[in-house]
Symmetry: C2
Subunit: 162 residues, 2 copies
């Protein structure tokens, strides 16, 4: 169990007294579920806003229609706005966010199925990374959740470029 990123993350967040929030689209809640598989996660996990519909990204996370219309739901701009929104609405120290195209539908030439953006916002900066997964729907969801947790672990271990 201790090798899971969610377990390592938990130990670090507890030790530093930091509170975590999340904003999820394509993962549908899987990130929050993974985090809460760890006993004692209520000490550092505030919650997650699963904003599957565009309108929920706007109403609950404060993403602007302009951002969604200009860059799309699966973009650097949107995942950063989602993470900012989750951090503000849940009053967290750190927020992670994910938006991607899990498939099998929804792919486009410039954004094929498996395209996923992951964002992280903390007091000292904001980061976003793009991934291209090649699995089926459930595999892409799982890969997206793992990538988000790994990005958070990298941040906590000082490995993200500032």
């Amino acid at each position: 169990m201790d090798a899971l990123p969610e377990a390592l993350i938990g130990n670090i967040l507890k030790a530093r007294g930091l509170k975590l929030a999340a904003a999820e689209s394509c993962t549908g809640g899987l990130i929050g579920s993974r985090i809460t598989d760890i006993p004692g996660s209520s000490e550092y996990f505030l919650g997650s806003i699963v904003a599957y519909a565009y309108v929920v990204k706007v109403s609950l996370l404060g993403v602007s229609w302009e951002t969604l219309n200009s860059y799309g739901a699966v973009s650097r701009e949107t995942v950063l706005a989602m993470a900012h929104g989750a951090r503000n609405r849940l009053n967290g120290d750190i927020a992670i966010s994910v938006s991607g195209i899990a498939g099998p539908g929804g792919g486009m030439p410039e954004k094929p199925v498996g395209t996923t953006w992951i964002g992280l916002v903390a007091s000292d900066g904001a980061w976003a990374s793009e991934f291209q997964f090649t699995g089926n729907r459930e595999e892409n969801k799982s890969s997206s959740a793992t990538a988000a947790l790994q990005m958070l672990l990298d941040y906590l271990q000082g490995k993200l470029q500032t």
Copy 2:
């Protein structure tokens, strides 16, 4: 796949043009993740508010501190308030909610580990049921998610008492 409650639920919601919202505590996002394992779920699933911390149940779901303090987070009153909150905040037709004690900690004599309340609010009524699961943390989360999806399916099939 078609035997999964989340697949049957999806078919019914699509056919009736109904939009679904969720409010999760102990499941941590697992209900939203199960629902979004189904391709095309974006047609009927708006999102889920994973309110793990008490303060998020209040700030994002509108559960009152009085309800939490009087009845506890794992109670009929709290899951009904959570479902009402999710239905209102996400503008859904139907909302399901879950709050329970997944364990291994958090158990009390009158509410042992595995105690779970599930709520459902729709235009024609509100329902809540108590369950007592006996598994480990991950099993209790899974059982809670399954019970919530089954309750939703029962509602959609007209099997819940009014």
